[in-house]
Symmetry: C2
Subunit: 346 residues, 2 copies
């Protein structure tokens, strides 16, 4: 079943039978605003802190995804694969506590949705579960406070900086559409036919306000590995969709791949570039955070696959393994990216 050093091709591809996205006001005001299932006007989601707001966002997203999947007999997914940007994954711990589902906590920075989907798909494809959920989230204010400066400080942001998305996305993955979905709409959003797990890539970047430069080499590495392992060309995909490289990272990625003989200039899309109108929303290089790729996947990408507008896409969430502690101690910021192959149902 294993096709290479980093890639898995699923003999019995699992499918996505439910999906949901919940975002904040700024994301709701952006170009994709109408795609998301819920747009919350209150940045605190009715809670007392940014952290609990993110937990509440995850909770709503997961509930909506389960509802969308219409699992038979009120069943819950067997396992939850979840992660976020907060230290100790506290958004996930408190957001998912009430559901009492076996939880596998993941940290892949902003690549977490790819990691979660890859592992959930592997569990289902390997016969370990009938259904599994993947979820990831981020919150602008919680992330700024933890990684950079409290908002009250009012620091200026360079043009290479990205804006952390307040939002969450969740998918419900099943071994077969009929296993779990009790409704008549048996067409799943998409099949997950393969994954490529990324390696840590360190290009020596030391600029904590330029995450695009950190993540682009990791995205390039994973995409090249994927194409090699699977014996495919970039043109085999309608879209190659990175997580949150932003405009700076996009340029680097296209350049790096081009030097390796791979041209994705015609079919590359970055969730971070799509989610905001950088000019009018003052988001500089684009959106970022685990919630960026997760929400754009669930709100936008999966719907394109569902209606058959796209047949095959490579979803590549990208993460900067940025630790303020190691950074302040002089270390580089390495990156990682995981790729998930999504194919429309025939």
């Amino acid at each position: 079943m294993k096709t290479g050093k980093a890639s898995i091709k699923f003999e019995k591809p699992p499918c996505i039978i439910g999906a949901a996205s919940v975002v904040g006001k700024k994301e709701g005001d952006g170009p994709l605003g109408a795609c998301f299932d819920q747009v919350e006007e209150d940045d605190k989601f009715g809670m007392d802190s940014w952290e609990m707001a993110e937990s509440e966002c995850q909770k709503r997203t997961f509930l909506a995804a389960v509802q969308d999947a219409q699992l038979a007999d009120g069943r819950k997914p067997d396992f939850l694969f979840a992660g976020d940007l907060l230290n100790q994954l506290s958004a996930s711990s408190f957001g998912l506590l009430d559901f009492q589902i076996p939880l596998l906590g993941l940290y892949g920075a902003c690549s977490t949705m790819g990691e979660a989907m890859g592992m959930a798909a592997a569990f289902v494809a390997g016969g370990m579960a009938d259904t599994a959920a993947a979820i990831a989230s981020s919150h602008f204010a919680g992330a700024q406070k933890q990684f950079r400066f409290p908002l009250e400080y009012g620091n200026q942001r360079p043009y290479a900086a990205t804006w952390t998305v307040t939002g969450s996305g969740s998918v419900i993955i099943a071994s077969h559409p009929s296993v779990a979905r009790c409704s008549e709409k048996l067409r799943p959003y998409a099949y997950i036919t393969g994954v490529t797990i990324g390696k840590i890539v360190d290009y020596g970047v030391k600029d904590s306000t330029n995450m695009g430069a950190v993540m682009a080499p990791a995205a390039a590495d994973t995409i090249l590995q994927h194409l090699q392992d699977m014996g495919r060309r970039a043109q085999d995909y309608d879209k190659i969709i990175t997580g949150d490289l932003g405009t700076v990272g996009q340029t680097i990625l296209i350049d790096l791949l081009s030097k390796n003989g791979v041209d994705i200039s015609g079919n590359h899309m970055d969730c971070g570039i799509e989610i905001y109108d950088a000019q009018s929303q003052d988001t500089h290089a684009g959106g970022s955070g685990c919630g960026c790729s997760a929400a754009v996947l669930c709100g936008h990408v999966l719907k394109k696959l569902l209606v058959g507008q796209w047949e095959k896409v490579l979803f590549v969430p990208t993460g900067a393994l940025f630790s303020p502690v190691s950074f302040n101690e002089g270390q580089n910021i390495p990156g990682i990216a995981h790729a998930v192959v999504l194919e429309a149902a025939q």
Copy 2:
């Protein structure tokens, strides 16, 4: 293959073909000191910071585990499942960077070794990989600085507090002993015949210096779920081995299980209690940290299984999902525990 809501019984159980443990001086001075593969006298492992010391510890542990597995043709494991206690898993990121192996970063607090082994075993059992490695680590000074007080502050520690282990453990898991091991000693340390993935359990504990009280209910929940899913009794195991409950947590666990009709008083063992001599080493309730259960497993438990002294054990690393931020914002500290069934080769 799935036997219950949280448990997986592997039809083709993967096996542990390599293992290694590296610890600090205090752990080397403890009752299990002679069991560990390496004892490093320098708390900084020759590095400039506590964080990089933990990375170096992981690096040495992984190298030793790979060497122990004697993989054919200098092969590396297909996938790495790794985690630690530092924010953004920075010990793993920098410790494992050089190996350039596809990495799945995990966060389960001190339950991480159980999570990593469960997922690595599932990948191998599901045919996603021939070999996979699990690794987890912690460092006393790095953990104190991040979670409580810098060492220079010299705070007093209550008797319910545990001492974070400086150390790391790593196992190499394979689909079959002969697949990867090129040596003549084809007897693996043990087979992983099943896992039970834990749920988040919140008993309302708000004492950040009593992790035993946080984790014991999670351990009880996972053990009860495991026995129910698998249709087993506690006595079916030579040992039920929790991660780092310490003496306070042990009492609570035995009590909670007893109230549910399960008696483990005769076959319970806690890695945190075993690793130090609490009286002479001033460690109060015991040892803790991801590295505690990981190092005791690899240095001590697996060797008992290898020589057949124990035939079947349930390894249950326990984690306190303690976030200083959410704690300071008034939240409880929830816990989680994952169980792995280890059986000696026949």
